[in-house]
Symmetry: C2
Subunit: 182 residues, 2 copies
Amino acid sequence: MRSGKTQYVILGLLTEGPMSGYDIKKVIDIRFSFFWNESYGQLYPMLKALTDKKLITAERSSGGRTKVTYAITPQGRAALKEWLAKPVEKETVRFELLLKMYFAGETETDVMKRHVRAFMDTHAQGLVLLNLFEQELKSIVREHDNHADVLRVIAFGQKVYGAYIDWCGETLDYLEEKKHEA
Amino acid sequence: MRSGKTQYVILGLLTEGPMSGYDIKKVIDIRFSFFWNESYGQLYPMLKALTDKKLITAERSSGGRTKVTYAITPQGRAALKEWLAKPVEKETVRFELLLKMYFAGETETDVMKRHVRAFMDTHAQGLVLLNLFEQELKSIVREHDNHADVLRVIAFGQKVYGAYIDWCGETLDYLEEKKHEA
DNA sequence: AATTGCATGTAAGGGGTTACATGATTCT
DNA sequence: AGAATCATGTAACCCCTTACATGCAATT
């Protein structure tokens, strides 16, 4: 039982209000992207399963386009709360970049420089988005009271991405030196 | 083709010298644990597959205990180098802690404090191990010339774990305040 | 008229963990 | 003698991504 957290992402998002599977996916892609991801292949079957378990309700729109709006039930809220109380499982991270850095001796220094620079760029871009998201959140008057919690989540991303970028800077310097040594 | 990087971990480690599957697992568990993981269920079948593909050779020990020592072939080295040159794929990270922080409104503040403190503790311990590993590396005379590269990998862990711990400190303060507000 | 976005869903297949099975060797 | 560690391997099972299929609605 490594995971099975898809259900809790769904339940959690539905506490903010009813949504479709498509909406949920969008929110995850945009707001959660730096710490979470889900695919339709996980989401849609799970929405069905949660409906069967009565943790959420499904309402199919009458008329033209098929659209299913899901809402959380009291049982769903209880299940979410139960999970929230459970200890966080040890996450298994996998950094391909570090693997390559570890084996850097088997390739050229320029290859590694490219990898580190690419890593730096993507995370610098990510940081920009996080900063934008932070500003956006701070500007709008608090409609929901989870604002402050979300800011903490964003702060995590900012700190960690900052650390990544720092490391990349140092490592690029190191690689530059290494190159001239050889 | 999300992954399939197990093979390159094996090839990479075997560049340092011949090893058994058991050895490889140990090295990954101890030295790579903060950025990589592998299970026997992945390792052993992959060792067989790599042997079939002639990227590594297998030598079974004669006598008592069954032990298979693997060594990299020139083709294996070439395959590794080829992979090293390929761009690093976007890693998909999943932080259950952040998911819970995002939905913190649905539970008690003390619950979140526990989670954050646990996260802080495990990574503080991890940081100690990383510092030890760094000292150890710096103390022994460089037998292999990959020392400096490995130090860079360790530095990544130190920086990122430092960022985690920082964030935990801030977040614990935030949660403390939040608790007294309510 | 065509493209993009909205919207739901399934099937196949790969990646990965866990649990189990088996047995030798070394340490206490 | 018993426990821990060395050592290899398999099978079941789950999680997850990718690719595909389908079709409506809004935009350009």
